[in-house]
């Protein structure tokens, strides 16, 4: 009973005690690495200013004998620094650290190897540094070599080794050293699956022999497999410490929530962008609709207008009215006295017997200035079914300066009213009369006549 109690006490024995430990790295703003620089710098700029980087901040941690403590956390959270302080490689700036027993550290892959020496020489050297006597190494040499799986390369200089090979070699030396505490930093990250299995077997053996292991890894699966307790470091602080399962759950939660937050942020950004685009599209659509409505409206109005301006019994439709000059070329502007040809294109749905073709010239104030008529002129002819044109030639333009519009009608002869119109086209064409200023006359028409003078008459 008493024996068991003492055994239990021994198990509970604290082997590492860290109290409010802080490690600061001073990053100088300006590098002074030589005497000359220091001398000149001290004279010209005074003391070097430092940026304080808290690698570890107020870390308190107790590790009991036989503990397998996992240390997890994102890059730069201080995991390796913590191991280095425990290993005695770095000195803490504040707080205390107590380590009982022999520590073997396996840090940052590769360890204290000398690149120019062969693997075998390095085994002896590194083993010696870790406290193995030469004869101990002689005994264990084969085991070390076969564990690392480098039998063929035993006499190869280490500089020709891959990082994986070096890490495997270092680990297989370290595991053969009898120590109380093993500090292991990412050994399995470089090994293949077979090597990982071997490592896990080593850890199991350590566990059986009551060794204490501090295990830094990013592989939470491995940590939960090996470690009974875990510390989660974040930005140099212990974010959570305790039972591995709980800590890893917390860690994963943090990571997942971090990832989720990032994901959500992305989704939100995309949503916002989508919304913006949708709004843009909506505006465009609206604009398009109003435009097309407007367009349709105008089209309809235009058609209506055309319809209004074109009417009649429907036997004839006046298609268009051309205003031409004497050379049969479309022209807009004429001078008084020039020849104007008015050509009326029509479509007759049936043959018509000498219909009356009439024109009406309006000025800008809708005053009917002239209304020539084929019947009056005795020029009416039969119209056949189909398209055709009637031309009226004004030999000498009688109009004075101004704008004129032309309406045309083909109707039953003699035309007695609107109902007699086969087809009418109101304001189907127009032209301008513009004379040189000295030839300009007032009024609507230019009256041609002879001027005579007589004296003495009263």
């Amino acid at each position: 009973m008493i024996e068991k109690l003492s055994e239990k006490m021994a198990q509970e024995e604290k082997i590492i005690e860290i109290n409010k430990l802080t490690k600061i790295f001073n990053i100088p703003h300006e590098e002074r690495r030589t005497l000359a620089e220091s001398f000149i710098g001290a004279i010209s700029k005074g003391k070097v200013k430092y940026e304080k980087l808290y690698a570890l901040r107020d870390i308190s941690l107790t590790v009991k004998k036989g503990d397998f403590l996992g240390i997890i956390g994102p890059n730069g959270s201080g995991k390796t620094t913590l191991l280095k302080v425990i290993a005695g490689i770095l000195q803490p700036d504040k707080g205390s650290i107590l380590v009982k027993g022999k520590v073997v550290s396996f840090l940052e892959l590769g360890i204290g190897f000398v690149q120019e020496l062969t693997a075998k020489e390095n085994i002896y050297l590194y083993g010696s540094l870790l406290g193995l006597a030469r004869k101990d190494i002689d005994e264990k040499l084969d085991a070390i070599i076969s564990f690392a799986g480098i039998k063929k390369f035993i006499d190869t200089p280490l500089k020709d080794f891959s990082t994986g090979m070096m890490a495997r070699l270092a680990f297989s030396i370290a595991k053969n050293v009898e120590a109380d505490i093993y500090l292991i930093d990412e050994v399995l990250a470089v090994g293949d699956e077979e090597f990982q299995k071997k490592c896990i077997a080593v850890f199991d053996e350590f566990k059986l022999r009551g060794k204490t292991v501090l295990f830094v890894s990013h592989n939470t699966g491995l940590v939960s497999k090996i470690c009974n307790r875990t510390a989660y470091l974040d930005k140099g602080k212990i974010a959570k410490l305790g039972e591995t399962k709980k800590v890893i759950t917390e860690y994963n939660k943090k990571i997942i929530s971090k990832e989720q937050a990032q994901y959500l942020k992305q989704v939100n950004e995309m949503k916002a962008a989508l919304k913006e685009k949708t709004q843009e599209i909506g505006l465009l659509q609206e604009k398009l609709i109003t435009q097309s409505q407007h367009f349709n409206e105008r089209l309809r109005k235009g058609n209506d207008l055309k319809k209004q301006r074109k009417w009649g019994t429907g036997d004839v439709e006046i298609l268009k009215i051309d205003v031409l000059d004497s050379n049969n070329k479309t022209k807009q502007s004429f001078k008084t006295g020039e020849t104007i040809k008015i050509r009326i294109h029509y479509y007759a749905t049936k043959g018509l017997d000498k219909p009356e073709v009439g024109l009406a010239f309006f000025n800008k104030d809708y005053v009917l200035v002239g209304g020539p008529n084929s019947r009056v002129a005795n020029a009416s002819k039969d119209i056949k079914k189909g398209v055709g044109a009637v031309e009226m030639i004004i030999l000498q333009n009688p109009f004075a300066d101004g704008k004129y519009r032309i309406s045309a009608a083909i109707s039953k002869s003699p035309c007695k009213g609107k109902e007699d119109n086969y087809g009418y086209y109101g304001f189907g064409a127009g032209f301008i009369v513009k004379n040189q200023p000295e030839k300009k006359e007032v009024g609507l028409i230019s009256l041609k006549g002879e001027w005579a003078y007589a004296e003495g008459i009263r």
């Binding site: 550290s105 204290g112 050297l125």
Partner: protein
């Protein structure tokens, strides 16, 4: 305690071996070249100072060789120690090895070279028939003094080197000057008496001078007050350098892992 001492001794042995291997690049020829260096220097200086300038010193070749060898050890030990920390960054950044062991083993490695050079020296002694005497015991004491001084200076220099990288150049220059300021090619009697009190502050001066008396001329210097004073000054400087070196190095070595 005993365990840790044995451990440290074993580490020193292995580090020294490594150092030796690396220095001579694992080649027998490399080692012979290193022996050739003092001999070549000897030949040059011998021709210049004995044949041309006609320095009249008996056994000048032996006189010159022991100076070159002892001076060579001091330069090698200190210069090599200064860069030893840089050559062993892995050891410093990734293990909690006591850094003093690196410096000690570098010095021992230089000392082994010295021993091998001394074999050649004694070979010369036989050839030139200078003979041996009980004064060899005195030489052993002088060697011990020299080793302590070299070790002390190595600690001081290597502790400061990570912070001041130009120290190696400065030290190179000082060693060049030192070669002429130390009685290597000439006897100490060439220096006017009134400067002796200053001159003797260089421990190498008395160590080399007395080594010649012991090894070549087989005599004791006139043991008077001024000689005893000089002996004690040299001893104090050698031990003092070691103590100061250990203090500075212990203080500075805590930050080596961050600085290197």
């Amino acid at each position: 305690m005993k365990e840790s001492l044995r451990n440290n001794l074993r580490i020193i042995k292995d580090l020294t071996l490594t150092d030796f291997k690396l220095k001579y690049n694992r080649s027998v020829l490399g080692f012979f070249w290193s022996l050739l260096k003092p001999l070549l220097m000897l030949a040059t200086l011998y021709i210049v100072f004995h044949r041309l300038i006609k320095l009249d010193v008996p056994h000048y070749e032996l006189f010159l060789l022991i100076g070159i060898i002892l001076w060579g050890f001091f330069t090698e030990a200190t210069s090599y120690s200064m860069s030893a920390l840089n050559r062993n960054t892995n050891l410093i950044r990734k293990t909690n090895l006591n850094k003093k062991l690196i410096i000690i083993s570098t010095n021992i490695s230089a000392f082994i070279s010295l021993m091998l050079n001394l074999i050649i020296f004694f070979f010369f002694v036989i050839i030139f028939e200078a003979g041996f005497s009980w004064h060899l015991v005195l030489f052993a004491v002088l060697l011990a003094e020299l080793f302590l001084f070299a070790l002390g200076m190595s600690f001081i220099l290597s502790a400061l080197y990570p912070r001041f990288r130009d120290l190696s150049h400065i030290w190179d220059v000082l060693m060049q000057v030192g070669f002429w300021v130390t009685p290597i090619i000439y006897p100490i009697s060439f220096i006017p008496k009134q400067f002796h009190n200053w001159y003797i502050l260089n421990p190498l001066a008395r160590i080399i001078e007395d080594s010649r008396n012991a090894l070549i001329f087989h005599k004791l210097p006139p043991v008077d007050f001024s000689y005893l004073k000089h002996v004690s000054i040299t001893f104090i400087i050698c031990v003092g350098a070691l103590i100061i070196g250990l203090i500075i190095f212990s203080k500075k070595s805590k930050k080596f892992a961050e600085q290197i």
